[in-house]
């Protein structure tokens, strides 16, 4: 199974460990990822919040290249997945818009390729049985809260990964990997990552509320598929804890990192050393590394 790989800017920088673990896990599960040649930034929130056309044109360039490759797109980053999907849906719905975008990017675009988050690739193209069959170190005894955030699940119609109020697909994958998932209320509450640099105070409030709920339900760590959520929940955790006069110590990991451990990948290759809240003591305690 071959897919066009769109890592996106974050995975080449702050979310480097997501990139590494994605590539390793994909290899292990027989997913062939071919990087989209000379891919460019999807525009993130900045493009579509300041120009509707730019917000479609930037992702469209990458979709057009993938179309030339004749491959569906795998996009691990929640924001990239969201933006590529949104551009695709908007051009599907509006023929005139598609024509204009084709003119802007000076490439043909027919809307032939699908955009999938990596979790969806694992779930529907690899299958949970295959995941279970490849387990080496099941994540037994590790209680985790799957956190989906906004971009993966909202709004319906723009993205169609999972239910917007109670998504379960990450839970399913991690459960297949042997993990113990906590059922909790704040799976999709916004963590305010887009305000991280500009409205830090607000952001800390939102992060605090989410971590508080996860801790209350007994989670020992959080798994996510969004670089912004990961960074935000990880880096703002200390501030949030101070504000709430508590100490969370909840490592925030990419689901691919833990899946990698379960699949028997060497811990040293999964970027476990790159988090603010170090997950290694917990994983050692559980005998997973």
């Amino acid at each position: 199974m071959k897919l066009a790989y769109y890592p996106g800017c974050s995975l080449c920088g702050t979310a480097r460990e997501y990139n590494i673990s994605t590539i390793k896990v994909s290899e292990k599960l027989g997913i062939e990822l071919e990087e989209i040649p000379d891919w460019s930034c999807c525009g993130a929130t900045s493009a579509h919040t300041s120009s509707p056309l730019l917000g479609v044109a930037l992702p469209a360039r990458n979709l057009a290249i993938a179309e030339e490759m004749g491959l569906d797109v795998a996009a691990p980053c929640a924001a990239c997945y969201h933006n590529l999907s949104a551009a695709r849906v908007k051009m599907d719905r509006d023929h005139l818009l598609r024509k204009r975008i084709e003119e802007i990017i000076d490439r043909k675009y027919r809307g032939k390729v699908k955009v999938l988050p990596l979790a969806e690739v694992i779930l529907s193209r690899v299958g949970l049985d295959a995941v279970r069959d490849s387990l080496v170190h099941p994540l037994a005894g590790l209680k985790m809260a799957a956190y989906y955030g906004c971009l993966m699940v909202r709004p319906k119609g723009i993205v169609d990964f999972d239910d917007p109020e109670n998504p379960t697909k990450l839970d399913q994958i991690m459960e297949a990997a042997g993990g113990e998932m906590v059922d909790w209320s704040h799976k999709t509450e916004c963590c305010g990552a887009s305000l991280s640099l500009t409205g830090t105070e607000l952001c800390v409030d939102l992060v605090g509320r989410i971590l508080e709920r996860a801790a209350e339900e007994g989670a020992e760590c959080i798994v996510t598929a969004c670089p912004f959520c990961q960074a935000n929940l990880d880096m703002r955790q200390a501030e949030a804890a101070t504000k709430l006069k508590t100490d969370f110590r909840l490592p925030v990991l990419y689901f691919t990192q833990l899946l990698g451990i379960a699949l028997g990948l060497p811990a040293g290759e999964l970027g476990l050393d790159s988090h603010v809240v170090d997950p290694r003591p917990l994983l050692r305690e559980k005998g997973l590394i």
């Binding site: 920088g13 480097r16 493009a47 919040t49 730019l54 003119e103 802007i104 305010g192 509320r209």
Partner: protein, 191 residues
């Protein structure tokens, strides 16, 4: 005293524009407040999304351009997925931000940073084709004068190799530049 006909009449074009940009119809709103009730940031807003919808319905949309709320909105889309009238509430907030920028509205000091970040971000993409995160953070510090903010986080990130020191430049930079210029032409060159 507000003359409703006057406001609705005068504001219709603006409301239509917002509707068009957000691909929605705010006249469908029946003011139930589900959007404000579920908004994670309503507590920090001056007026909630329900009131923003009402301002637009009554032709007072331009007032919404002055509201802090549109800059506080994190586009989490919780409002949109819950709206019983299928209004793209977050999309309306976004359309308002775009309008506020286009019309040169004074952006509240506390949230002016959003604009700076957006400009820096789009500039970075225009120059390199991808985002140069460290450059973005540095630019932010320069432009806001908050030189020491989050220094404690930046250094370990650098050490962990998470922030590259140089921007990655794609080969198709000329193509990106052309995209930016064409978009500018089509949108009336206002930026």
């Amino acid at each position: 005293m507000l003359n409703l006909q006057a406001t609705i009449g005068a504001g219709r074009e603006f409301t239509d524009e917002i509707n068009h940009e957000a691909g929605t119809d705010i006249n469908r709103c029946y003011q139930c407040g589900t959007c404000s009730g579920g908004c994670p940031l309503f507590y920090a807003m001056d007026i909630g999304p329900r009131q923003v919808m009402r301002l637009l319905q009554t032709g007072l949309g331009e007032e919404a351009l002055r509201a802090r709320s549109i800059w506080i909105c994190a586009t989490c889309d919780t409002c949109t997925v819950r709206c019983p009238r299928e209004i793209n509430v977050a999309g309306v907030m976004e359309a308002l931000r775009i309008q506020a920028r286009r019309r040169g509205y004074r952006i509240p000091a506390a949230v002016r940073k959003v604009r700076i970040l957006t400009d820096l971000f789009l500039g970075s993409v225009r120059r390199s084709g991808r985002i140069f995160e460290l450059g973005l953070v540095q630019g932010m510090k320069m432009r806001t004068g908050e030189l020491l903010k989050d220094v404690g986080m930046g250094i370990p990130m650098l050490l962990k190799g998470k922030l590259s020191l140089r921007p990655h430049r794609i080969r198709g930079r000329a193509e990106i530049e052309r995209i930016y210029r064409k978009v500018q032409e089509m949108e009336g060159g206002s930026r």
